[in-house]
Symmetry: C2
Subunit: 157 residues, 2 copies
């Protein structure tokens, strides 16, 4: 029973990531350099941003070291078009896939207890006051964050 | 333990709906009539669309009759600007809040068993083959659907 609950949550994550992957697969390199709307982020920036945020889930969920900390400056610390893109389109797509594969592989092994442990950015004291600040909360938040930007990427023509 | 898992899921839903409510509260009636990007849906249409989709969660999750079936034609069956808006801005905002309140109130009473029951749009046979087609899956899907359109609404200036 518990297992089914957990499987449903991980299935939702996979669906959201897969839907974005399908959209990305239909866009060529030129389209990825376009802005989602006038004076807004480029699709490529959003892909970099999502890669950074997912990469940071590895230490946050306590499942591993970061794979691509070199992307933070370009896609998290700074707004779009401040710095040049550190990776090519195929290399960024590869990083995106690697990071998601690492997360999926780790969380598929999580028990219900694992999901309810605190994430690493909350203190023991804060967690004891609010036990919903757990790994599941981070995972659901990041799944919704991916959906948020997928909605923007879907506007690309 | 089970209870905490369920609380975390419902907390995530509330956060996503609240974030959209905060954005909507900062927009006046004129801004709601604007398109999110050139030749794209108006914000008001997206609010109508989300209200319809959430309203349909009531029968889908087996928690009640629909409250606003009169919105389907304008915001689900037809694209934006095909039909005139059936409700004023305050009335649509009220419908949106009513529907979400009904969902939240019902799911807060769900046990783990309730979450893992089949939703009403899947047959017994299909559900027995794939038990992840449960109410939790619908709930996570719709939470992400709200995030998808919130990302678009966030582009409004």
């Amino acid at each position: 029973m518990d297992e089914l609950f957990v499987t449903t949550v991980v299935t939702s994550w996979k669906q959201i990531v897969n839907r974005l992957d399908e959209r990305l697969a239909s866009l060529d390199n030129e389209q990825l350099q376009k802005q989602i709307a006038p004076n807004r982020n480029r699709l490529f920036y959003l892909l970099g941003h999502l890669t950074v945020v997912h990469d940071r889930m590895l230490p946050l969920l306590g499942i591993g070291e970061r794979l691509h900390p070199e992307l933070d400056e370009a896609y998290l610390t700074n707004p779009d078009q401040t710095l040049s893109d550190p990776l090519s389109v195929p290399d960024l797509k590869k990083a995106w896939s690697e990071v998601n594969a690492a997360i999926t592989s780790a969380v598929e092994k999580f028990s219900v207890d694992d999901w309810l442990k605190k994430h690493t950015a909350v203190s023991d004291e804060d967690f004891s006051k609010n036990p919903t600040r757990n790994r599941l909360a981070v995972f659901l938040n990041r799944t919704n964050h991916t959906s948020f930007h997928t909605g923007q990427i879907a506007l690309a023509k």
